[in-house]
Subunit: 318 residues, 2 copies
């Protein structure tokens, strides 16, 4: 994998004492690599329930300690980051809570914020700070081997601190994410969940759906779908190859916003469908013209490459 | 643009005498470049109704002759390829018909085949061969400057010769496409139109639609959509930036197949939506698991890169 690395110089002194990461998948293992590379933590503790994952983390050497015991693993931590699927956050918070030291900061990386706040907050002891976070970054690959230190460079990370959160705790979490190369924004959990429903959750559902629809056609073979996918379909298959557990949880835990955006999507699609049925070419043309400007904005903001076809190699031989 | 070039050695002798290309956009101008590079034509004539396009083609030096007159431009051609939007094929065929020499082969590159056959065939004089073709290749950019010689390398080109077509004419068109690096398949226009509705047309419509839905939300700003697009949305914006005229024509001319596939897509989407509403996590998980295999097939067949995030540079600074 050739991912350009534009992380700057590491911090002269570690920014945090001990950072504990719970769940060492794509995101957790990327954070471990980035935190070490950027000298953000004096010590990194990796906590994972899976023996296989712990074995890989130990072999990769991306943490100072690897353990299955959440409460024990977090006992020295100044910053604990939950990097587990959204549906597991409550149980993990409950399991680790008794180990948390006073003044510790708890954060997470969940793609849904309202539900995570509701699940985690009740378990946290007084004197522990909770600053929920969501890095809008990832790839279609999963697991500790898929991570890399530059995953968060120039990506946004959204913080959703509840009212009354200690500003110093929020500032520390911000410093961590800026340390791994992210741009940081703050908003309410509710607004986050609506924004992400549009920019991430519904696009994933639609991609999963069209790939399924294509696979189910009796009159077109799967081999044909695969062969002729360069006509556009292949673009959808990337996000439809993302981690199924993570995405199941996202949809179950961001139900209201996803259903709201899906309703609008279907309404709009019916309008286009009707324009096709009735041959209303001008309506189609006008719609297709305005969507170009949005992509230009994304490219201009550095969230996308301007190279044709995402800069894919033109052929697999290369 | 750094597109790897895996075209092989050019033909020792030109494969065709004169090749006339009508419409010098992304596809037509790429064919001009590829045909010259691979020595497929002794002479290339570029025909375009737009003065601006003719000026660019002349400046780029990718054709031996540039003209606005279709009938005159095709008069020496052994092979004429229509590279205009699907909706313009009938008018262009009518305009050029009187110039065609006996034995000439006419082909096209339209994304819809049934309609093109119906539009073009009535205008062709006896003794002229018609071998419709569709290269499943492209980028989100348009116009003569966007073309490049390797666009068709390792992409499929589908031929849909009507019953009774001279096999020698079909073989000649096949040789041309193989010459520019494509893999060639043959099928009926009807089957082509259904396959492409799934692998290209409906994916484009869905992409255009979600980008529009996102832009129309009152509660999420366009700036937020752009910022947080790395969560999945940006993948859709690429094909939603494609040429509006071309795509308007595709939908108007492949109405039946597009409406059929759209109907299935919506039905399947409602099933997923219902699973979210009722919290049926197992159904979501199962659906999300099977779609991974399709992407693997596309990668294995060389129609897609295995690099995370399509191999995009990790940040725009690079």
């Amino acid at each position: 994998m050739s991912v350009p690395d534009r992380l700057g110089a590491p911090a002269a002194e570690p920014v945090f004492g001990t950072v504990a990461l719970i769940g060492l998948g794509l995101i957790g293992s990327s954070l471990a690599r980035a935190a070490r590379r950027m000298n953000l933590a004096r010590r990194i503790v990796a906590i994972d329930a899976s023996e296989e994952v712990r074995g890989r983390v130990a072999a990769l050497g991306i943490a100072d300690r690897v353990t299955a015991d959440a409460a024990d693993g977090v006992s020295d931590a100044d910053l604990v980051i939950l990097c587990v699927p959204v549906g597991a956050c409550g149980a993990v918070a409950e399991a680790m809570a008794r180990g948390l030291k006073p003044g510790a900061i708890v954060s997470d990386v969940g793609s849904v914020k309202g539900s995570v706040v509701a699940q985690v907050s009740p378990h946290l002891p007084k004197g522990v700070h909770f600053v929920p976070a969501h890095p809008v970054a990832g790839t279609e690959y999963s697991g500790p081997d898929a991570g890399f230190a530059t995953l968060f460079v120039n990506r946004w990370c959204i913080l959703t601190p509840p009212e009354g959160t200690d500003p110093a705790a929020t500032a520390a979490v911000r410093a961590f994410w800026e340390g791994v190369g992210s741009n940081v924004e703050e908003m309410s959990p509710e607004h986050h969940d609506l924004v992400l429903a549009v920019t991430s959750h519904v696009p994933h559902l639609i991609a999963y759906n069209i790939v399924g629809t294509a696979a189910d056609l009796e009159t077109v073979t799967e081999s044909e779908v695969i062969k002729f996918s360069a006509g556009g379909f292949r673009d959808f298959t990337r996000i439809a190859a993302s981690d199924p557990t993570m995405w199941r949880d996202v949809f179950l835990h961001n139900k209201a916003a996803v259903l709201e955006v899906l309703g609008r999507f279907s309404e709009d699609l019916y309008a286009l469908q009707r324009a096709i049925r009735w041959g209303e070419g001008d309506q189609l043309f006008d719609h297709f013209t305005r969507t170009r400007a949005i992509r230009r904005g994304i490219i201009d903001l550095g969230q996308e490459t301007a190279a044709p076809n995402f800069g894919r190699p033109q052929s697999d031989e290369d």
